[in-house]
């Protein structure tokens, strides 16, 4: 196997799921566009079964093939439509259209064409609906150039176009206009609502849905109204009725399969079920977590699923009961907490839903759990100022968790510092201390003193604030026996430096020194006496990040400044060791080695530099890591050190580096090639579908694989023999029954064909014996030699076999004769 030469950036989670409406397959799988991929989930177990990749850009449409429910069409911005066999995850065909595809619709009534929305050539921001003829020519990659324009002036969003019952008409909305095109009559009707601007927004159309059995169109508006249009055959006598519950934009609409009820969802994150299209009968499913982006129904009407803006899928029963939720990396509006690794579960911890902390498992791409920090009802409404989590820190063993939440207010920010204790019994974090207004202004950084070997009472928390001080918090034992808990946290020391804002804080590896940066200056404090030891300053620019070196480099302090300098100070000599001109956005030390990763942002591309503090030259540079700005990075320790051949990538041995980009996609660096990473999982999936992986099954799988390897290595002989046998058996099995002679005649031939020739085996044995003897004469054989000898033996067996086909040995003939003589008449009795 050839060692891969380069590191690859691999996307491993957090892709937006709301590119297009999700689709339920006939056998209860859910298919969903996720970034450049199409993902298949099991509705029963919430697990990701398959990831189908092949598109080069965002997937914009996912539709089942109306003529074969085991196939799936997907469209992408890269201008191609792919037809998939989603059960096996195989792309069957790729049709290249050419221009960007913004939406995809497949109809049962149109035999071999699908409808796509493409930008009109030559004009900006105008789009048209075209039907694409999918040629039935052989081959995988096909050109689909037969386009016919159906409708002009449609909107880019796939929600703003819908096909009526049995594909008789197509309805599209844009701004305040609704247009309906009838295919048979080739008639285009245009309707419009008068534009009104109110406080809650305008009444532009936002989404559309068509009744499955009747001639009725439902449209959603930006002011929260839903209009039901009827009688739209004629331009003049159309009617509409209005349903109004949403106070904000209606994001999506869906009719039930029979059309008796209508589902609507919006920013409020409430799913509303309207019965019989009347205003008075409605049911609600409130508090779904975040704004609803798409609603889709399963074809049997038993399930409904909502896609949310935070990349979550909620599956809902037909009686409006919450059933399941598929959640990967929850996308929050702003990841203020940074990427933190939970030392206990090795999960990635960051902002989840508003006010929650999500624990994201990197291995399974699933959310482990979500910890409610703010513990207040979140109101889904634009323009509200609600408390959110801004800082998180774990103690070394994950026993304590400190969180800071704040509510931005014009006059004074509302701050709370909370300390959580991990309760072994309930296996979750329990609130221990709540401190109101720990600082007078925003908290900029927070860290625990990480000391593994020392007792609990040495645990110290340091918070740095914009109010020009840093505070040290310690645990205090409560002397009152009636108090519920034995320890609580209180402030021990307040430090400041020349009335500068404290921006970062960091403990050295052994916990003896605390570095706090105050704007342009880094101050180093003794963590026992809280004396100021020394200060470092390297103008110009304010300090953006600081960190101590680890292990052999623990005498260095690294700092990155605003003006694009990376400085390394020696703590022993209190002098600048080296500095480099680099605009560092993220500075992340590896907890298990001396390496430090710095991500810089230079002219619209992010670059990664890995270096050791003791030498100014980076160990590894990767330019153009990704096009998006990298916000955060984290080293996650590996369970077991990986063997990496190249010396260049040695820094990836103990831990893995993860990045979070602006668009909240999680990326990592991998030395393995794409195939290597994908194949084992897909193989496993192909074999086991959604069976849970038990230790037993793993063991069995290993055993089987070993067997197959052995087969490949040793059993060429057997394999060949089967090939030899096959013509007779094939003839027997494939000839039509009425042509075949009687069974009594065929039986001996068949049985003969199954026999394994004795002579062959004996020859092999002889060979073996010979080998054994030769081995005895030599010293104990090592494995390699064994293998080569085996190969030799194989070839000899092959030769033997070749001879055998032309003439049978005497013993074999004797055997055959014996068999022929035998009476097989008893078989014919059956």
């Amino acid at each position: 196997m050839v060692a891969p030469a380069t590191l690859r950036v691999v996307r491993c989670g957090g892709s937006t799921l709301h590119g297009a409406r999700a689709v339920f397959s006939a056998d209860s799988y859910l298919l969903c566009a996720a970034g450049d991929f199409v993902k298949m989930y099991s509705v029963a177990t919430e697990e990701t079964l398959r990831v189908m990749g092949g598109h080069a850009d965002l997937v914009t449409g996912v539709q089942l093939n109306p003529h074969n429910h085991m196939q799936l069409y997907s469209s992408s911005l890269d201008g191609s439509i792919k037809l998939w066999d989603f059960m096996d995850g195989i792309p069957i065909k790729t049709f290249t259209v050419g221009s960007k595809l913004l939406a995809l619709y497949a109809l049962a009534s149109s035999e071999d064409s699908v409808f796509v929305v493409i930008p009109k050539s030559g004009e900006r921001d105008t789009f048209q609906l075209v039907s694409v003829k999918l040629t039935k020519a052989a081959g995988q990659d096909l050109e689909a150039k037969e386009l016919s324009v159906v409708l002009d002036g449609v909107d880019a969003s796939p929600k703003r176009l819908a096909f009526g019952r049995e594909g008789e008409y197509v309805a599209s909305v844009k701004e305040v206009n609704l247009q309906v095109f009838f295919f048979k009559r080739k008639q285009l009707n245009r309707f419009s609502v008068s534009a009104i601007k109110t406080k809650s927004g305008n009444n532009h159309f936002t989404c559309i849905a068509c009744h499955p059995t009747e001639d009725c169109i439902a449209t959603g508006h930006a002011d929260g109204k839903i209009r039901l249009w009827r009688n739209f055959y004629h331009k003049k006598d159309y009617t509409f009725s209005t349903l109004h519950w949403h106070h904000d934009t209606v994001m999506d609409l869906a009719f039930s399969m029979e059309g008796t009820s209508l589902l609507s969802g919006g920013v409020e994150s409430v799913l509303v079920l309207w019965h019989n299209e009347s205003d008075c009968q409605k049911d609600f499913l409130p508090r779904l977590g975040s704004a609803i982006e798409y609603i889709s129904m399963s074809s049997d009407g038993a399930l409904c699923c909502t896609l949310h803006t935070d990349n979550r899928i909620t599956i809902i029963n037909s009686n409006l009961r919450f059933s399941k939720s598929i959640q990967g990396l929850i996308k929050s509006t702003d990841v203020k907490t940074g990427l933190v690794v939970d030392p206990r579960t090795k999960a990635l911890v960051l902002n989840g839903e508003p006010g929650h902390l999500q624990f994201y498992c990197l291995q399974s791409d699933q959310q482990l759990f979500s910890l409610d920090i703010v513990q207040r009802q979140y109101i889904h409404q634009a323009g509200l100022n609600q408390a959110d989590l801004v800082k998180v820190a774990f103690s070394a063993q994950g026993k304590w968790l400190a969180t800071v939440e704040e509510r931005e207010e014009v006059t004074d920010p509302e701050l709370q510092l909370k300390l959580w204790f991990f309760d072994e019994e309930t296996q979750s974090f329990k609130l221990n201390t709540r401190i109101n207004m720990p600082h007078e202004d925003h908290i900029t950084d927070m860290c625990f003193r990480e000391m593994d070997e020392l007792e609990d009472d040495s645990l110290i928390l340091v918070t740095a604030g914009r109010d020009c001080v840093f505070k040290v918090w310690v645990m205090v034992e409560d002397t009152d026996p009636e108090a519920q808990q034995s320890v609580s946290w209180s402030c021990d020391f307040v430090g400041s430096y020349h009335n500068y804002q404290a921006t970062n804080c960091c403990f050295s590896e052994d916990g003896s020194l605390l570095a706090v940066s105050f704007e342009e200056t880094v101050t180093v404090w003794d963590s026992v006496t809280w004396d100021l030891k020394c200060t470092f300053c390297h103008p110009p620019g304010k300090i953006r990040n600081i960190c101590f070196g680890r292990l052999t480099c623990s005498k260095y302090l690294i700092g990155a400044t605003d003006y694009g300098f990376l400085c390394c100070w020696n703590l022993l000599s209190c002098a600048l060791e080296w500095s480099a001109h680099l605009n560092v956005l993220v500075l992340q030390p590896d907890p298990l080695s001396e390496h430090i990763a710095a991500v810089s942002w230079l002219s619209k591309e992010s670059s990664l530099f890995v270096f050791k503090p003791n030498e100014p030259r980076p160990i590894y540079i990767q330019r153009n890591l990704c096009k998006e700005k990298i916000q955060l990075a984290a080293f996650v320790p590996r369970d077991e050190p990986e063997t990496i051949g190249s010396e260049k990538y040695h820094w990836l041995r103990r831990s893995q580096l993860f990045f979070l980009t602006d668009t909240q996609e999680l990326m990592t660096l991998s030395t393995k090639s794409l195939e290597e990473r994908l194949t084992p999982s897909s193989k496993q999936l192909a074999v086991e579908e959604s069976l849970p992986v038990t230790p037993f099954s793993l063991l069995l799988g290993k055993h089987r694989r070993q067997q197959s390897h052995e087969d490949i290595d040793l059993g060429k002989l057997v394999h060949n023999k089967h090939k030899q046998d096959s013509p007779a058996v094939k003839e027997l099995l494939h000839t039509p029954a009425h042509v075949l002679p009687s069974a009594s005649f065929l039986c001996p031939i068949f049985i003969n064909s199954l026999l394994i020739s004795k002579e062959n085996k004996s020859a092999e044995e002889v060979a073996d014996e010979v080998e054994m003897e030769s081995e005895k004469t030599e010293d104990d054989s090592d494995e390699e030699r064994g293998v080569t000898e085996m190969e030799q033996e194989d070839t000899s067996a092959m030769e033997l076999l070749g001879e055998m086909t032309c003439k049978l040995s005497k013993s074999q003939e004797k055997e055959l004769r014996k068999i022929r003589k035998m009476d097989y008449s008893w078989i014919s009795a059956f």
Partner: protein, 520 residues
């Protein structure tokens, strides 16, 4: 899917003293009854037998009060000058008192004229008492002597003149009938045995001794003098156990409670401090209007009587025990409904289906859940919530503010409701825990109802009251800032001093070297 999260009502840690068993116990007294005497009260003594009358010595009289009487039930006023230290005998029948002219009078409690008179002291006698055999009386006088008298013959048995200053306090041992102690202004406490000719033990207190006390076991001695209360182990030859310095003026009187678990001390600094006799820590303290001279606790701690320099006697009675049986029992459900389903024990193979626990939401939470802001605000302005749990009201106001609906919830109210709101705000806005929220509320109310000012007298008055409250608070804060400024300057000088002190040391060292040089 998340369920509705109720409004978080912030619990604030209670500042100030923590409620312990002791504070609860010592707070269980009614408001004091004040009785005016003619002069400074130098001694209060409870009769050891029921009905526990007490003798109060003030000026030239001894008043005997009944348990609940405001007026003296008996008065001994046969003194030419001031009387001192009227003390009951163990059986409560006899009373002995010293006097300014140096004579000691013995009274029968039921009689009026003195039964005996012991003459021998040449100066005023400030301390007298019975020995525990009931037949002898000890005394201490300003002539520096401590004497022992026989009651039957009215003669002096012994006289010890070992003190070198006024003898002002004393106490007899309850265990040994021959032992008594006296404390004097010569800073010593002396232990006398009637069988010997001189004192058995001398304890150096360090300050003029104002009061002494022996524990019922006789093993421990408590002396008070100056600002100190000191406890001595008599059996170990007068070893100091603890020295307590909790008063900031002279401690004048000591007293033990009936169980012997608590020690009380009264002082000229107007405080009575209560110590635990196991840990010798202050567990509670009382304040009084003026300096305290005498203090007594009735048996079973029924009454605390304190005498002060201005002649006011303060009597505190214990509140009657609250009866807890009063809480009426809820009517038990009928047997049949009560037992239904309870007796069935699930078998091993049974699958138990538990009902989902229904969460009970408070009224305001229900209204907030359905986004009815105005009604939710109405719900928390109901009297019980508004008066007893204002933090709930404020929490809901904060929640409404967070949701951006506070303004609409406050708007559109009639005169009565505005009055209610403003009363609440004006009363609570100065509490630091509510201030941030209520300032916003007050701001919004004034904003919304500005156009209608002047239309209703009630509302106008409330607005004025709010203004007054805020004005007062601002003045108060300013004063606090001033104090803070003063303290800052104090602290600044404090740190400087330390620095100069160090410098002084250095200079001292220098001068020393110079001196040695000069010597050379």
């Amino acid at each position: 899917m998340a369920t509705y999260k109720p409004v978080v009502v912030q619990a604030f840690p209670k500042l100030g003293e923590r409620i312990t068993k002791d504070t609860a116990y010592w707070r269980g007294y009614k408001t004091p009854v004040q009785i005016k005497e003619f002069g400074a009260i130098n001694k209060i003594d409870f009769s050891p037998v029921p009905p526990y009358n007490y003798a109060v010595t003030a000026s030239s009289r001894i008043h005997i009060y009944g348990r609940y009487s405001q007026e003296p039930i008996k008065t001994f006023s046969r003194f030419k000058d001031a009387a001192y230290c009227a003390t009951y005998r163990d059986d409560g029948n006899l009373l002995v008192a010293g006097s300014e002219e140096g004579s000691i009078h013995l009274f029968d409690v039921s009689g009026r004229a003195p039964l005996r008179q012991f003459d021998g002291h040449t100066k005023p006698v400030h301390v007298v008492g019975f020995l525990s055999d009931k037949y002898r009386v000890f005394s201490g006088g300003d002539d520096y002597s401590s004497n022992l008298w026989d009651i039957a013959s009215a003669t002096e048995i012994a006289s010890y003149s070992e003190h070198t200053d006024y003898v002002r306090c004393g106490c007899a041992s309850k265990v040994n009938a021959d032992v008594f102690i006296t404390g004097s202004y010569d800073h010593t406490v002396k232990l006398f045995d009637a069988r010997t000719k001189s004192s058995v033990m001398t304890i150096e207190h360090g300050q003029p001794v104002e009061s002494v006390l022996l524990f019922p076991s006789g093993g421990l001695l408590v002396s008070a003098g100056g600002r100190y209360v000191k406890v001595w182990d008599v059996l170990k030859g007068g070893q100091l156990l603890v020295s307590l310095k909790n008063h900031h003026k002279t401690v004048t009187c000591l007293c033990l409670n009936s169980s012997g678990q608590r020690l009380l001390s009264g002082s000229l600094d107007r405080h009575v401090k209560i110590y635990s006799t196991t840990s010798y820590k202050v567990v509670h303290s009382f304040n009084y209007a003026t300096s305290i001279l005498s203090l007594a606790l009735s048996p079973e701690d029924e009454t605390i009587v304190v005498g002060m320099t201005n002649g006011v006697l303060s009597v505190k009675h214990k509140k009657p025990e609250e009866r807890k049986e009063k809480s009426q029992k809820k009517r038990q459900p009928a047997y049949r409904t009560y037992v239904k389903g309870r007796t069935y024990m699930p078998k091993q193979e049974d699958f138990c289906v538990s009902k989902p626990v229904k969460r009970v939401l408070r009224k305001y939470d229900k209204l907030l859940k359905s986004f009815q802001s105005s009604k939710a605000l109405d719900a928390v302005l109901e009297p019980p919530i508004r008066l007893y749990t204002p933090e709930v009201t404020v929490a809901v106001m904060q929640e409404l503010h967070r949701r951006g609906t506070l303004r609409s919830a406050l708007a559109g109210r009639d005169e009565k409701q505005i009055n209610l709101l403003l009363t609440f705000v004006a009363r609570r806005v100065i509490e630091p825990r509510f201030t941030p929220v209520l300032v916003t509320v007050a701001d919004m109310i004034t904003d919304i109802y500005q156009p209608v000012v002047g239309q209703s007298a009630i509302v106008d008055r409330q607005f004025l009251r709010l203004q007054e409250a805020i004005g007062k608070e601002i003045d108060y804060q300013e004063e606090l800032l001033e104090v803070l400024g003063m303290m800052d300057t104090l602290f600044a000088t404090f740190t400087e001093k330390r620095a100069t002190y160090l410098e002084e040391n250095k200079s001292n060292g220098l001068t020393e070297t110079i001196e040695t040089n000069m010597n050379n």
